[in-house]
Structure formats: structure tokens, C-alpha cells
Symmetry: C2
Subunit: 273 residues, 2 copies
Amino acid sequence: MKFRRSGRLIDMTNYFIQNPQRLIPLTYFADKYNSAKSSISEDMAIIKQTFEQQGIGTLVTLPGAAGGVKFMPKMSNEEASQLVEELCGMIEKPERLLPGGYLYLTDILGDPRVVNKIGRLYASLFANRKIDVVMTVATKGIPVAYAVAQYLDVPVVVVRRDSKVTEGSTVSINYVSGSSKRIQTMLLAKRSLAVGSNVLIIDDFMKAGGTVNGMISLLEEFDATVAGIGVLVESEDIEERLVDEYISLVQLKDVNIKEKHISVQEGNYLKYI
Amino acid sequence: MKFRRSGRLIDMTNYFIQNPQRLIPLTYFADKYNSAKSSISEDMAIIKQTFEQQGIGTLVTLPGAAGGVKFMPKMSNEEASQLVEELCGMIEKPERLLPGGYLYLTDILGDPRVVNKIGRLYASLFANRKIDVVMTVATKGIPVAYAVAQYLDVPVVVVRRDSKVTEGSTVSINYVSGSSKRIQTMLLAKRSLAVGSNVLIIDDFMKAGGTVNGMISLLEEFDATVAGIGVLVESEDIEERLVDEYISLVQLKDVNIKEKHISVQEGNYLKYI
């Protein structure tokens, strides 16, 4: 089948969007469309230009026999600010307040549209780091972790708080929860993480950072390196944060249970843009 | 800014792929590209043709003032068979066998590429049903549920086996696990599911169907309707299956723990294509 330029542009755009970060040899497209490499190169230049103009991302070309072209998704600063503003607006609704000062985030984390955008933003923020795998802890962080991993084209590993027979042998650690000071356990299937991996930690909520700190300890058992930490919401200023470098999108400023009032501000992500 | 056709086709393709199932008024594109509606209609015809030819999906146009255009993702039968074959090949590897005859699927479910394809296939299979929300049970089913929900453009609700303070008030039921005959509990945050919803149940593995059956009982508490059931892997023939109508992608045929041998075949999904 012979393709016209318009058909090629549409099909290539779909392919790039569905396969972020993957190196695709020019011959793949030339063969698929039965077209000359020079035409494919021209198509690529048009796509790259549009992607950049529209804040979708960019195409990176690697020369040579093992080369090809790679789509790097990106969220523009404008779209990022808009998303964070939207998140702030959703999170400060007083009906989210649960007994004990906890926040109900289930509906936000249950919306694939929102979760996907968060994923794209984090993938943009961490684009220049070497990341082999995204790690999170069950259950709430899972959707965001997958969304980030999808845009980075890496797998996800999920840390659990209880052992399951379908995981096989596990490595477990004890850690101290930062806020309640209780000793807790977390574990990871032995075969789910390769020794020496570069790991991006993603979680939905961080108080003092005990859980994230637990994940860092767990990574040490696998001789793995922390490539970055992303938390969707961080709580209001904590005297002693157990984690140093992390990127948050939203920060709670003030949670008043008595008056049912939540105030929020944007997280520290702007420093990393 | 004025757009040329090539730029419009690329940007529109990206928009459709990122926003499946969403009705977009023609004026949205006409305004964005500062172009006549007639040009946008021509663009749309080209995109529709390419999407259909390439098995990406189709564009559906709804006429009238409240009308617009909607991208319906679809997986071609050829791509579906290829995916299921690939899944079968991965699942029958003997190193997946865990003590007790359980299967290690964590790596497959940890790969966003594979999970996304599974999501697109299920979204194709359930495309003609009225679905308001996708439901799954923590933890393994979550990534597949999100992938399906993303292509259907609906939210996800996650049933848990333990109560969490961040969920608010919950509705819980007891159910009998089909294979072990033990009584277990599952619960769902009260505010996470609207009364009367049409619910697609997605899970990673089904033995006798006790867990899925539990979810169905839980749905009754919300006066909700089961719109469909999808399970990635179903176990070998069970004498008494607790669930009638479900779509599986892979079926275990024979699991021999002693000889470390797994044989699989494709699930019943072909009947629904």
C-alpha cells in the first residue's frame, strides 16, 4: 500500500504518541509506508515542528546504523501551571476532609484523564534523569506511577505492606512511620527489581516522609539508586522532613478540621521546570 | 497563528489519541487553528480514513448544535490475536510457577506497554456497552482497570480488602472465596460509586470466580448494574464457575507443579469480537 503524506503524518503521529521514548529506525516507517527515507525525514521534520509548537514534546534523531528517531513527551510550563492550579482547586474543597484530618483523594486518583496529565508532567520533570523503573507503594500511588512509567517507557514495581502468595519470595524491611512513629513493614517481590536499578519513587501523599524513606531503605537491599522522588501532595510544613529532595505538585498550607477548611498552594515543582 | 493542513492533521491526531470517547465540537478545532469549518471537516475525513485503514479506531460525527466529533479507539482483530498470542507465550514460561500452583504475573502487569494494549483490547470488546465506571479489586487488577478506563474515558473505583482511614465511610460485604471456601471481606468507599452506575468489572485472574462474585454482591449494595466482566487470565476448567458471562484473554489449560509445566490457550474473547 502506498501512503500519501497526510496519511503518513497521521499514522506516524499516532505511533509516536503510543510509543514514547522508544527509538524507532527510519527504515521502520520507510518500509511500512513504502516511501523513500528522504520523504520520511521530511515528514519527521514537520511532526517535530508541530510537536514543539504545540507543547506536545519533541522528536530526537540519533544518527548512525543503530540510530533512529525517538518521541520525548513534554508538558509545556503553561499547561503544567494550569494542571497544578486545577489540582489545587479540586483539593481545597472542604468536603474532602475526613476524620483525623485525612484528605479524600480517591476521586482525583480515580480519573484517568487527570492521572495521565500528572504522569506527563512528572515524565517532563524527570526527563533528563536516568530511570530504569518507577516504584510506588500499594494502593493509592499505583495509578500515578503507571501514568509516569508509561511516558518514560519503563516498568513499574509495587511495594506492598503485606505478603501475597502470588509474589513469590520477597525482601522485607521495617521502617518507622514519620508521623505516627509506629514500626511498619514493607516488602517487594525479589524478582520484580533488578539489582542496581535506577528507581524513580512516586507516591500520592507525603507527610513526614516515612513511607518514602522506607522505600529508600528497601532500595538499598537491591543495591538500587534513587533517581528521583515525586509526590502528588505534600502536607503542610513538617518540622522534620525525613526526605530531602523530592518534587511535589501541591502542598497543603493549612488544614483546619474544626472549621472544615483546607488551604493549599502549589508544590515545589516550579523549581525543577 | 495560522496552521497549514499538515500541522493541523498532526495536532488533531494527537488530540484525538489523548482524548478518546470525548465529544469535541468542530468549533474547538476551527477556533484553535483559525480555519474554516469546511477545512476542519476535510481534515477529519482524512484522519478518519487513516485511523480505519490502520486499525487505530474511527471518528464518529454527531450532527447538530450539541454535536461534534468523537474518537473511538479500536484494536483490529489481527492486532488482538497477536497480543493474546504474545500473552500466552509470556504466561506459559515454567519459571512463573510459584509454590501452591500460583502464577507470577507481576512483571507482565508491571509493563505499561503491555497493560495499555490489554486496555485497548478490552475497550474495543466493550465499546458498545453503556459503561459509567470500571471497578477492580486491589492490587493486581488496578493497572489493567486504569488502562481500560482510559480508553473508555470513565473513572476507576478500587475495592479493597481492608479499611483505610483515607477512604471515609465504606460499604462492606462478606463473600465466600470460590476455591478456598473461606469467608472474606471486601469494601468500597461509599462516595466512590454513584448509585445506579453501569459498572465494568476488570480483574487480572479468575479461579472459581469468588472475588468477581463478591464485587457483584457489592454492586447490589449500590443498586449498580454489571455492564461486563473482563479477566486477563482464567484458570483451567473449574467444575463450578460462580460467574456466567465474562471475557478472558488467556485460559490456563494445564498447570503441572511437579513437572514445572504450564500450558495455556487463548481465552473466550474471540466469541465477543
